[in-house]
Symmetry: C2
Amino acid sequence: MRQGSPRFVGETWPVMSDEPAQAVVKEIPPKAADLSAWYTAVCLKAELVSYSPVRGCVVLRPYGFALWEKLQQHLDARFKQTGHENAYFPLFIPANLLQREAEHVEGFAPEVAWVTRGGGEELTEPLAIRPTSEAIIGVMYAKWIQSYRDLPILINQWANVVRWEKATRPFLRTMEFLWQEGHTAHASAEEARKETLTILDLYRDFAENVAGVPVYAGPKSAGERFPGAVETFAIEALMPDGKALQSGTSHDLGQNFAKAYDIKFVDSDSAIKFVHTTSWGVSWRMLGGLIMVHGDDRGLRLPPKMAPLEAVLIPIVRTNDDRAVAACQATAERLAAAGFRVRLDARDEQPGWKYSEWDVRGVPVRIEIGPRDVESGTAVLVRRDRQKGDPEQRRSVALRDVESNLRELLDDVAASLYRDAKRFLDEHTIATSDRAEFFELCRNRAGMVDIAWCNRPECEAHVKAATTATSRVLRPLEGSAVCTACGEPAQVRAYFAQSY
Amino acid sequence: MRQGSPRFVGETWPVMSDEPAQAVVKEIPPKAADLSAWYTAVCLKAELVSYSPVRGCVVLRPYGFALWEKLQQHLDARFKQTGHENAYFPLFIPANLLQREAEHVEGFAPEVAWVTRGGGEELTEPLAIRPTSEAIIGVMYAKWIQSYRDLPILINQWANVVRWEKATRPFLRTMEFLWQEGHTAHASAEEARKETLTILDLYRDFAENVAGVPVYAGPKSAGERFPGAVETFAIEALMPDGKALQSGTSHDLGQNFAKAYDIKFVDSDSAIKFVHTTSWGVSWRMLGGLIMVHGDDRGLRLPPKMAPLEAVLIPIVRTNDDRAVAACQATAERLAAAGFRVRLDARDEQPGWKYSEWDVRGVPVRIEIGPRDVESGTAVLVRRDRQKGDPEQRRSVALRDVESNLRELLDDVAASLYRDAKRFLDEHTIATSDRAEFFELCRNRAGMVDIAWCNRPECEAHVKAATTATSRVLRPLEGSAVCTACGEPAQVRAYFAQSY
């Protein structure tokens, strides 16, 4: 992936801010022709990220960070509503602690970055940069939890983590990334499982109703499970190239970590028991998913609830007539007072140049006010989600009703983006019971290939070897059937797809 | 500092959550007797932090993180109001980048943690964990800035940083800590200096009007300057033991970093010039300051604007009578609806046990409702900042007026905490022109010792060697005088103090 890409130090840098907007837009290749080239171009041109001189690491620029802040606000509010609190645990994990849960260390060891020198000295024990925090949090929970009265513990952490990667792809695959990781401890298996599913549904709700990205939610196969988990659940979205993107995971860790880190409590019956733990996370990868799902040849199309700016106001200026600017200014202030996230673009540039610039950035609605609008007391609202020529793209509204019109339009943009994405997912979810067709659909990245499945690791390994596809999530099988992939008795239904 | 303290792995852990509240409070030693022991006890007992198994690193527990979130909210809003945007830069800084600014690397090299292994391989170039981000941000600014139209760049980052430390003291000195670091670039020296001072005043305003901690703000001496800065400004608070705490710094970096990282722009006169940069930061150290300044023998006393909870409601329950609980519940809901941060403590414990628990945590106001209050339609509001026996500690108010009474009381608690701290600072700011007295005051940690000063590094080095005190901030000298410390002509007035 990205072979032949420059090694960053000394590379020729794409100059963005000095280029005219038309040129910038022209540089975004058509999405349908090459999703990968389109994606990178959009991430750079919209100034979401810059490549950095550190291999594998990107810089999240202000517009990209504003998008991340929206994700944080929505998820953080949902976490708090469901009783979770934030905390912060150390970045470093001493080698001996990481090694206590056997499957966990085996899964993560190849990806770990190690600090071996500090304060001018070689360390006697190297420190891992956290690839995830089960280990350090497990040790702390063992200290904090004594009695059933201390349970449940419901903690979330917003943090940076590091997993060694050879390739870099903004949001989707970077060495350092931002995420949130929840870690909870419970008195019973039932309660831990309930927590795992509560979070899975919270993630699904966020993906669908905030990010506008429809997903399949469910358990993963054994082969796709988190190292050390009893059961992993995930939400999986479908990208335009037919590959799935795992966008959030919720793990029921059973008592595996409790035993490895000695997290015990005295229950109400006075018996000493191990707790049951869960962990769950969403990273900035979710942003990569919504960019790919919604974007078009002009750039980003942001779902309104995630958009740093809901609308941008652009005066259609005639020489020596600044009434349009004044009307835009007054309208921007009214909208801001009504709680909308808006910006007036009064820069000394051509309106068309500005249109392109804000189109790239995916602002859901553009509000144009020209001299004629000033006279008639109107404004033109232009939807970013529609294309030129669509009669619904532009509407002229009375300025006195601009708030209600904008509200309605934003809701409609949100619904429309979701509807389009849902249609794509539905149309690219293909059920089959024919073995040859199944393998061909998987090889061709036809989408989510829905089969009756035996749920055996050997079968999944065989499919993967033959097609690179794996099961994404499972669901119950109704009735009985044979496995489409191998002919053994089926146990579940599964969506298979190639994945990021 | 903290000699003989355990090395954490395998240490006996202080069990907090299972101990009765009285015992917990009893364990906080008197503040006046031993500030250091009191401080550590309060940080642990209030469950702000826990020591971690990683030497030098603490865990910020949910209550501590909630305090940090209040700091973030207040500062972040002020940054945004003054035109700054957030972004995120890589954790890692390749060795060659860190080394470009000579003074900078010399200042930070001894404190750096180095990653030398990753993905199972030895790295050809070690990666520093950021001790601060001037280097990596300088490289990016050189890429982003082409023209005067790209200026100013006003970016802030909330991040974790690592500086190798031998000793651990929650908030005040830890290997990894949370902070914000602002990094701006400007077309002119005047604009950069103005930014530096804007932020200095923003920090002063936050410290005094939100954290309730009075500070001296001003430039530092050359010896106390940030490595690579042209001028460093700071806010300095005075702790109860007479030592100063540097609580925020704002650096005018001139063109030093612009030259080291080649950050140039084409100005409006077509000339190619180096930009002028600033950087500034506040860390969780600020929390350590407000804990020490306001706390008392019962634990924390939180300034209301920083308090995660403004009030806690405690029903005075009589057996088989839960009207008090219902009244507390209804009042809590009313207060929450009015925008107050409140919690009902309806646990099955004695009221006195709960009082102590919330006293330790420093909740500014306690609201008690008992059966008699239910009958008379009243509640008792108890101020955390006052001591037992103070006639103003408790007031009975009509329940229908509880919102306005709570608002007024919170404002009064805030004003009162600040007034007490300001009086302490004033009483411990001692001007002297007598050399022997100056050295004795410095040695005795008498507070901020205010002298006419020559502003020579040799003089400061001599004072430091003799007393361990250094200059904290400088201000203009009115008229002429000789240096109290050495007898040479004075250039400035300076506050000298020992410091954390």
